[in-house]
Amino acid sequence: MSEVKYSKEHEWIKLEGDVATIGITKHATEMLGDIVFAELPEKGSNVEKDGTAGVVESTKAASDVYTPVSGEVVDTNQEIVDDPSKINQDPENSAWFFKLKIKDKSEMDSLMNKDDYDKFAKENNT
């Protein structure tokens, strides 16, 4: 199984070959509350590491979704756009956001592993 890595912006990223699947963490969904709207990047567009690549909204507020690595968007998960509550239900699995054909695998190096992220999330409970 491929390793999952995590960003400080609370995204998870799973790399298989040169395609990365990206979503938001369970911790992020717990902070956001009920997610009622999701916007994803356009298929075929290019996104830059740490740049905005989508939006999620709870009843309370809107939050940007960032991409932890650069690449070309090769797929997006329409299911979470049609039913954003799926993001709360299964954030780190079926409710992925988008898939990227990544440009530079070394961008993965600065991301956290699960233990480090869990510690980070616990310390940054906001």
Partner: protein, 368 residues
């Protein structure tokens, strides 16, 4: 100033509330089930809201007080029956809204429920206007608990016998645990419900009993989505000093009899606006699709001209879609007018619609 706690603070904590600071109080925004569940449970069953941060202003006086208050509020107070309530506002001389409120005729005076963020200023204004002629105080010793939703009448009646016979927008004194509680059939969710003014020391006991009978705590988050679906205004957002009751589309709350006399603060402007019309007016706005347009979102017409702004916008859990209110130039206020909302740099289609988004189910009295 230190952030205040209501008498239900410990109970909120026990129920895993997430707190926010609101108008100087630690208030629960939501509990563990979340805003959407709390909202739906209130619509379908019964939700309890701690609204103890709101001001409970008691004023005592007779005929002269009624006359003096009629100079302030655009209400026919001399004909307001004992234990009946009216929605109204405190205006400045330009008819700008300083606060919106509920005033109830009680024995030997009035009880006025004020917004938390405005209550101290309201008190100051009223004290000056009434020249300190009357005994009046913001009662900090009482909590205010709202129970809202279709099962609330049955649940509250099991705890306080007789409340089920109250008519909408009327109240009375009842006993709970030998304490005098003032209960009105009212609320701010678009559902049948009650607001209970109770001594602080008994608020938690009452609330726990209501929970034991099947009601559930709901936070300010759900209160906001519920009131917005019901088309009700939130002060500081949909109403403020730069908006008049006519612009806010609340002229139904102004007594016709009092307009004909025109002798209350702000009446010149109100009468002028009623005769000549207004340039901007509050409307309901329904975005097409799922896009949520929040407060301060700019509204454009079909020719891309800026015609207004959203004042409240969220996702309505019962509507199952986005809902919003805002002010637009009068000529674009007709139902079904197509407008565009600018969200994150892009324009999204929306339609002006009538309010409420969600149909009320208030219990009407037999005499009304």
């Amino acid at each position: 100033m230190e952030t205040k706690k209501t008498s239900l603070y410990q109970l909120h904590q026990d129920c895993n509330a997430k707190f926010v600071e609101f108008a100087g109080y630690h208030m629960p925004i939501q509990y563990s089930e979340g805003i959407v569940e709390e909202h739906k449970f209130t619509r379908n069953h019964s939700g309890i809201f701690d609204v103890s941060h709101m001001g409970q202003l008691f004023i005592y006086g007779g005929e002269e007080l009624i006359k003096d208050l009629e100079k302030i509020f655009p209400l026919d107070l001399k004909n307001l029956k004992l234990n009946h309530s009216k929605y109204s506002f405190l205006m400045d001389k330009d008819a700008g809204i300083q606060d919106d409120l509920i005033i109830t005729k009680i024995d030997e005076g009035f009880l006025i429920i004020l917004n938390a963020a405005c209550k101290d200023n309201d008190f100051k204004i009223l004290k000056e206007l009434l020249k300190e002629k009357y005994k009046m105080f913001l009662d900090e010793n009482r909590s205010l608990i709202a129970i809202q939703g279709p099962k609330s009448s049955q649940i509250l009646n099991e705890v306080v016998d007789g409340v089920k016979d109250l008519n909408f927008m009327s109240g009375n004194w009842f006993l709970f645990d030998n304490q005098k509680v003032y209960i009105t059939r009212s609320g701010y969710t678009g559902e049948d419900g009650f607001e209970i003014s109770i001594p602080n020391n008994f608020a938690e006991k009452l609330t726990r009993e209501l929970i034991n009978k099947g009601s559930k705590l709901a936070g300010l988050g759900a209160r906001d989505t519920l009131r917005l679906e019901a088309g009700l205004c939130l002060y500081g957002h949909d109403l403020d000093k730069d908006k008049t009751p006519v612009e806010a589309n609340l002229k139904w709350a102004i007594s016709k009899e009092r307009i004909s006399k025109g002798d209350f603060i702000g009446s010149d402007i109100i009468i002028k606006q009623l005769n000549d019309g207004v340039t901007k007016i509050r409307v309901g706005i329904k975005p097409e699709g799922r896009i949520i347009a929040r407060e301060k979102t700019k509204i454009f017409n079909q020719s891309n001209v800026h015609i207004g702004e959203i004042t409240s916008g969220t996702f309505g859990p019962s509507v199952n879609g986005p809902v919003a209110m805002g002010y637009v130039e009068n000529e674009f206020s007709k139902k079904n007018t197509k407008v565009f909302l600018e969200v994150r740099g892009k324009k999204y289609a929306a339609n002006i619609c009538s309010l409420p988004f969600y149909k009320k189910s208030y219990v009407k009295g037999v005499n009304q």
